[in-house]
Symmetry: C2
Subunit: 318 residues, 2 copies
C-alpha cells in the first residue's frame, strides 16, 4: 500500500481496484485522516480560498454579503478569508499583501463607505478581483452593485400606486454615488408619471436627520407631501417619529418608504417601514458564482446591477 495509491483512492482519480479503495477509505476514516490542504495547494497552485476585504466595521452590510458568498463557495470546497480594512487604504494594502502571500485565488472587496477613495491598486495582481457593494474605478475587475436607481423607482412607483402625488425625498449625503442614483430614480419616476419634481433634501444617514427634514418639509408654505421616500431606514424612522409627534398619521396622511430593509430598524419603527431591500445575500451569492467562474479561467469585467425588491409594511398600507 503506497502513498500514491492512497492519494488515488481518496481522490477517486487514476485507476484503482474498488476493493483497495474501500480499504483505504476505511483506514483513513479510522485514523481520522485529514488531507493537508496546504500541501495540496502548494502542488496545485491554488488554495481554494478567496479573500474578502470589508470596509464596514459594523458588518451591517458585509455580513449578509458574506453569508451569500459562503453559501455558494462552501459547497464548492472553497473558504473565505476575511479581513477588515475599515476604509483605511494602508490597512487594505497590508491585507492584500497578506492575502496574496496566502495564495488566495481571488479577492472580493465589499462595502466601501463613500466614493471619494483613492483605492488600493488591485489590478494586475494576477488573480480575479470583484467589488461587491463597493464602487471601483478599475475596469479590469468586476463590480456587483445593487440597482440603486431601480430601487428608487420601485419605491416611488409603489407610492404612486397607492395614490400619492406629492412625494418628497429625504436623502443621504450627496457624496455617495448611491444617493445620486436613488435621487435620479426618484426624479425620473415622478417625471414619468407626469408630476413635477418634489423636494429633495440631503443630510446624514441618521434618524435625527429624518426628524429635522420632516420639520423643514412640513413647515409653513411647504408642499405638504403625502409621501416620503427616504434614503435609508434610519432616516425613514426618524421621519415617521416626527410625523407622529406632529399629529400626522402614517400611512394615512403620509406614506413612507425606506431603504436597506434593515430589520432592526424597519420592523421596530412605528409603524413598521416599507423598505427597499438590496438583497445583499443575493449579491454575495452572485459574487461567489462569478468568482468560481473567474477562477475557472473565464474573464468577467464591468459593472453589473442586481435588482432590489420592495418589502411592504405598515408605513404604506392604509
Amino acid at each position: 500500500m503506497s502513498i500514491g495509491t492512497v492519494s488515488k483512492a481518496l481522490n477517486k482519480t487514476g485507476t484503482i481496484a474498488p476493493e483497495t479503495r474501500a480499504r483505504v477509505i476505511a483506514a483513513a476514516e479510522h485514523l481520522q485522516f485529514r488531507p493537508n490542504t496546504l500541501a495540496k495547494s502548494l502542488q496545485s497552485g491554488h488554495s481554494g480560498t478567496v479573500g474578502l476585504i470589508s470596509n464596514d466595521s459594523f458588518g451591517r452590510f458585509t455580513m449578509p454579503i458574506m453569508e451569500g458568498l459562503e453559501g455558494v463557495l462552501a459547497p464548492l470546497g472553497m473558504g473565505v478569508f476575511m479581513c477588515n480594512a475599515t476604509d483605511d487604504p494602508a490597512r487594505e494594502a497590508a491585507h492584500v499583501d497578506q492575502l496574496m502571500a496566502k495564495q488566495v485565488d481571488g479577492i472580493i472587496v465589499t462595502a466601501r463607505r463613500s466614493d471619494r477613495r483613492p483605492a488600493v491598486h488591485l489590478s494586475g495582481l494576477g488573480i480575479p478581483v470583484i467589488h461587491v457593494f463597493a464602487r471601483s474605478d478599475e475596469d479590469d475587475s468586476l463590480t456587483l452593485l445593487p440597482d440603486d436607481r431601480g430601487g428608487a423607482v420601485m419605491a416611488v412607483q409603489h407610492l404612486l400606486d397607492i395614490g400619492r402625488r406629492r412625494i418628497a425625498h429625504i436623502a443621504g449625503p450627496l457624496n455617495f454615488e448611491a444617493v445620486q442614483l436613488r435621487r435620479g430614480g426618484y426624479l425620473s419616476s415622478l417625471a414619468g408619471a407626469g408630476l413635477a419634481p418634489g423636494d429633495v433634501l440631503h443630510g446624514k444617514w441618521t434618524e435625527s436627520w429624518g426628524r429635522d427634514a420632516v420639520a423643514q418639509l412640513y413647515g409653513p408654505g411647504r408642499a405638504n407631501p403625502d409621501a416620503l421616500f427616504c434614503g435609508n431606514d434610519q432616516i425613514a424612522r426618524g421621519a415617521a417619529d416626527a410625523l407622529r409627534e406632529m399629529g400626522r398619521h402614517v400611512p394615512c396622511d403620509v406614506a413612507i418608504v425606506g431603504f436597506d430593509n434593515w430589520g432592526v430598524m424597519a420592523e421596530a419603527a412605528r409603524p413598521p417601514l416599507t423598505s427597499i431591500d438590496m438583497n445583499l445575500p443575493g449579491l454575495g451569492a452572485e459574487a461567489g458564482r462569478c468568482m468560481a467562474r473567474m477562477i475557472g479561467g473565464q474573464s468577467e469585467t464591468g459593472q453589473r446591477l442586481l435588482p432590489c425588491t420592495l418589502v411592504p409594511r405598515a408605513s404604506t398600507l392604509g
Copy 2:
C-alpha cells in the same frame, strides 16, 4: 546566488554577508517577490492563521470582536479565517473540518446566541480553542466573556448614585445565561444598598417589549419606578419612547440604563441612552493575545471575565 541563500537573506536567519543580503533584498523588491506562505507553512507545520467561527449572522457582535482580534493578530503576521455558522451545528462542523484541513493554528468561536446548544465537539482537535462571547461546556478550552454580572452592578450602582431608589429591571429572555447573570447583579446591588428587590420582567430583546414592559410597570397599583435597568439598548429605547409618550420625562422622572452600548440604538434614542459597554474589541484583542500564547505552547483554560464599562448619556443625566 543559491535559493538557500535567498531564504537566509530574506529571513535574517543564518549567517550571510551584509552586502549579499542587501543585493537579495533589492532584487526581491524589484521582482515584487512574495514568499509563498503555503510552502512556508507546509514546512513549518503551522499556517499563521486562526479560524473564527461566528454564529451571529448580522455581525453585530462578531465584527467588533473581529476588529480587536485582527488588531493584535495582524501585526504578528497572522491572519483570520472567518466563517459563519449561523448557529447551525452542521455548518459549524463542516467549517471546523475545513479549518482543520487548512491547518489553522487555532479556532475561535464567537457569539453563540443562546445557551441551549449541543455544541460541536471542539476538544481534542489538537489545536487551541477559545470561546469568545460564547458559552462553552468544554473545559479544556478557554472561554472569554464580558462580565455581565459586573456590568449590571455598575448600571444599578450608577442609578443609585444619582439618587434613584425604585429601580426596576426590564430583562431579556430567561434562557440566556447572560440574562440571569445580569439579573443576579441587579438584585445583589439592590440588596447591597439595603433596598428591596424591584420588579424584574422578562421578555424579548426588542423595542416593543420595552414599551410593553413600561406599560405594565407603570400600570395602576405598581411601584412607579424612578429608574429602569434594561437588558439591552433596544429594550431601553422602547422604554424611553413609551415613557415619553405617557408624559414622563427621562431622566427627570425615570432614569434609564441600557446594555450593549450599540451606537445606532443608544445614540439615536431620545434621550440618548446611558449604556453598559461590553468592550467587544477588547474581548477580541484579549482572545488574540491568548491565542498567540496558546499557539506558543502555553496552556490556558477556564473562564475569564472582562470588565464592562458604563457610558453615560442623557438618559441618566438630570
